[in-house]
């Protein structure tokens, strides 16, 4: 396995050399494609990564493949999608509201929504789909509502009552609640989305516009999704003119494409967080002064420039940088080795010991960032040894357990998302063992608040505590990167999974 991954690694650098060697001419246009007025028609050929063993035809299954997720997002409608000022845009639900208890939610299904076979969508379809996700697919984590509390009030209204107040429900349901017909085969691709399936082979699909869609009419006639096992193969296909758009292609490909000038780089900010995680509950980083010192050791600019090849932005130790309530008034931390050294001395931190930083090659730049941070730590007298693990070992032995490790998260427009998953003391996947009553209270206030001002106040209290006390060193945020020919226009910049929203894309002639 070691030999195999070395081969793959060498392979990618070789393929990278290929890109530079071949694409030698052509002008570049950083912002979008060839432009002009939006034009109707054409077939967009899209490449997306996907491994064969993770393939699924079930929209309620585990959608680990980008290629599967893209197909599902175009064929099916979820209740809500990413977008808009709050990060939540309507889709199958045209509107929603919550009672004063912040627990009783009602979602209204879009006027005129119908399945591709012509049947109108009714609330019972939505209810059945959500229950299938929670009960049949063992995926209660995707829908934080008890299944018996999801009911159809009438044909167009779905009610959900959460156990505790949850002001974030519409956000948590984005791109999750793909709706299939009640009682019908859920893997038949009979969706309600902007495109309907014409052909499907092995994770590759040809989709054509669904003229009966309830939303704004898409401009493209068709979208063809081709699945690629590796970024190298996808880049070769883009170079060879076999696809027009390579989704989530990574920074190396972007740098090379930018140098060659033949393709346009589409950047989506706040896409991936690669924090360094320090254990708070016990161990050498339990003292808050040590954690602050580590945060002051990081040279964030260097990390973004080198580990992310410049495709990212400096961050400030608060997770969820794309949140509508993200607090920009917190002072930006920068490298300060003198203060770091004195904090470490004050805390009696053992400078003779060697500390292991576990890392995993899960996202572009993750291992490089760990190595670079270890070099920076040496300047403050802290000896860090970087150990790379494979995913199996990492999630078994390191995640939520080790004193010091790197992590990758792909949802970054919600402070509350992180609070629920890894920050609140009661989370079973609390990555640092942090237990702050003040933070739990602030999070509870956010969930119970129904007016935006109160939500913002609670969110800022959460962020301040995270900034001061938590176990996270979030040095930067990686951009999401798609590469395309100049003819492709109208791509979404929504963070997280905005890249799947291709219904607004169009092709210049």
């Amino acid at each position: 396995m070691v030999a195999a991954s070395r081969r793959v690694l060498l392979g990618s650098s070789l393929a990278a050399a290929t890109v530079t060697a071949v694409a030698a001419c052509g002008g570049t246009d950083d912002e979008g494609g060839a432009g002009g007025a939006p034009r109707e028609g054409g077939t967009l050929r899209v490449g997306a990564l996907g491994s064969v063993e993770a393939l699924t035809k079930d929209p309620h299954g585990l959608l680990s493949n980008n290629s599967d997720f893209l197909i599902m997002s175009l064929v099916y409608d979820a209740l809500t999608v990413p977008g808009g000022g709050t990060g939540v845009a309507p889709r199958l639900a045209e509107s929603w509201s919550v009672a004063d208890d912040a627990k009783t939610w009602t979602f209204t299904i879009a006027e005129g929504a119908s399945f591709h076979d012509g049947t109108p969508v009714i609330a019972a379809d939505v209810v059945a789909s959500m229950k299938r996700i929670i009960v049949d697919m063992d995926a209660a984590f995707k829908v934080p509502v008890p299944p018996e509390q999801i009911t159809a009030l009438d044909d167009r209204t779905v009610q959900m009552v959460t156990e505790d107040p949850n002001s974030q429900l519409p956000l948590l349901l984005r791109l999750v609640t793909f709706t299939t017909r009640e009682g019908a085969d859920a893997t038949a691709f009979n969706g309600t989305g902007p495109f309907k399936l014409e052909d499907y082979t092995d994770g590759n699909a040809r989709l054509v516009r669904f003229d009966g869609w309830h939303g704004p009419r898409p401009l493209l006639d068709a979208i063809e999704v081709t699945r690629f096992e590796s970024t190298d193969a996808m880049m070769n296909a883009l170079q060879g003119g076999q696809i027009d758009l390579a989704t989530t292609a990574g920074a190396v490909s972007a740098r090379l494409a930018e140098e060659s000038g033949a393709f346009t780089v589409h950047r989506r900010p706040n896409d991936a967080a690669l924090p360094i995680v320090m254990r708070v509950a016990d161990g050498p980083f339990a003292d808050v002064r040590v954690r602050t010192a580590m945060r002051l050791i990081a040279d964030r600019d260097a990390l973004v420039q080198q580990a992310l090849s410049g495709y990212g932005t400096v961050a400030n130790d608060v997770l969820g940088t794309g949140d509508a309530f993200y607090d920009t008034s917190l002072p930006q931390r920068a490298q300060d080795l003198d203060t770091a050294r004195s904090l470490l001395a004050e805390a009696g931190f053992d400078l003779d010991a060697t500390y292991t930083l576990y890392t995993i090659d899960e996202a572009f730049g993750e291992v490089a960032a760990a190595t670079l941070f270890a070099e920076q730590a040496a300047k403050a007298g802290v000896t860090i040894e970087v150990v790379e693990q494979d995913a199996g070992t990492f999630y078994d032995q390191t995640w939520c357990k080790a004193d010091l490790y790197t992590m990758f998260w792909g949802t970054n427009d919600s402070v509350a998302f992180y609070a629920q998953k890894v920050l609140q003391s009661s989370s079973e996947t609390n990555e640092t063992g942090w237990a702050s009553e003040d933070f739990d209270r602030a999070y509870g206030d956010l969930l119970a608040a129904t007016d935006p001002a109160a939500q913002e106040d609670a969110s800022h209290r959460m962020q301040r505590l995270e900034y001061d006390e938590s176990g996270y060193l979030l040095w930067g945020m990686a951009d999401g990167i798609d590469l395309h020919t100049p003819a492709v226009n109208g791509l979404s910049t929504a963070p997280g999974f905005g890249w799947v929203l291709l219904e607004g894309a169009w092709l210049a002639s």
Binding site: V52, L55, T56, T226, D232
Partner: protein
């Protein structure tokens, strides 16, 4: 015949031992396949519930026995993600066998012709070029060769497609998409096999009775077909048979590079995702192919040595 059947039984027994060992080893690797499949957002309770519904909470011997009885009935079970392995493997194994089969034929023909020409004039310019050329090719990993082939034939010359694209009917959009993968996989193997063939032919040609036949004035063509090739055949067949294994291994790399829809991509994926059932199913099918190749080589050796003992 009895000797042949005994060898067959030994090979089949060995395959069973290998399968049990692979199953146990894959299971012993650190890592939880269900957690890996569900990702970090799933709660421990969801992971546990899924493990139970997949039957992964049962002890290892019970799971292996279950899988083995399924194998006999032609049902390989499901992946950790709940996909039937039969569906996953069906077309893919056929694709991989098409790629490796074509490559095998390519290697067989090229290596025989090349070795014959080389043996005819071992000290000529062709012989000297071949000695260096085969060494370089043998030492070139498939992914390097594949990348260079893509660069030259697809991206610069534009003669052949860079990656494999499957049409709506599940077939390759054009058979030309097989050319570069076959070359990338086949050339290093052909070079190696050429050297084996050349050595086997040289060794056979140096045997006293072959020399004698020449001195007796037997025509050269008859010397080659009646004396040299039968002597060299067991070595050549054995080498070709063992090559089947390395061809399948090389397919893992080549299929990924060319996005070829074969089973090779599954091997790497199943190990990474700790999907023991999928991994052992792949091992079983590849093992059957390798065993079949070895059995054919056994048969060729017995045929070539007939009456010579």
């Amino acid at each position: 015949m009895i000797r042949f059947l005994a060898a067959l039984a030994v090979r089949a027994g060995l395959l069973l031992v290998v399968l049990a060992a692979v199953y146990a080893a894959a299971d012993a690797l650190p890592g939880d396949p269900v957690r890996l499949a569900m990702g970090p957002t799933a709660s421990p309770a969801d992971v546990e519930a899924r493990r139970e519904s997949l039957g992964l909470d049962r002890p290892l011997p019970a799971r292996f026995a279950d899988w083995l009885s399924g194998l006999v009935q032609g049902d390989l079970g499901t992946t950790v993600r709940g996909q039937p392995i039969n569906d996953l493997l069906g077309d893919r194994l056929a694709s991989t066998l098409l790629l490796t089969g074509l490559t095998f034929a390519f290697v067989l023909v090229v290596a025989l012709a090349w070795a014959a020409l080389w043996s005819a004039r071992p000290r000529g310019r062709f012989g000297r070029t071949s000695a260096v050329g085969t060494s370089i090719l043998v030492a070139t990993p498939e992914f390097v060769l594949g990348t260079l082939l893509v660069l030259v034939f697809a991206l610069v010359l534009g003669l052949l497609p860079a990656t494999t694209v499957v049409g709506a009917d599940g077939r390759l959009a054009t058979p030309l998409m097989l050319v570069l993968p076959v070359l990338a996989l086949g050339l290093p193997h052909a070079a190696w096999q050429t050297r084996v063939n050349r050595a086997a032919i040289a060794e056979a040609a140096a045997m006293p009775h072959v020399e004698q036949a020449r001195l007796d004035g037997v025509p050269e063509r008859r010397v080659v077909t009646r004396h040299v090739l039968p002597l060299a055949a067991p070595t050549i067949a054995a080498s070709l048979a063992t090559m089947v294994g390395t061809l399948l291994a090389g397919a893992v790399v080549v299929e990924t590079l060319f996005n070829y829809p074969g089973a090779g991509q599954l091997v790497a994926g199943s190990l990474e995702s700790r999907d023991t059932t999928l991994l052992v199913s792949l091992t079983a099918l590849c093992g059957l192919v390798v065993v079949a190749a070895l059995v054919i080589a056994d048969a060729i050796r017995l045929w070539a040595l007939r009456g010579r003992r």
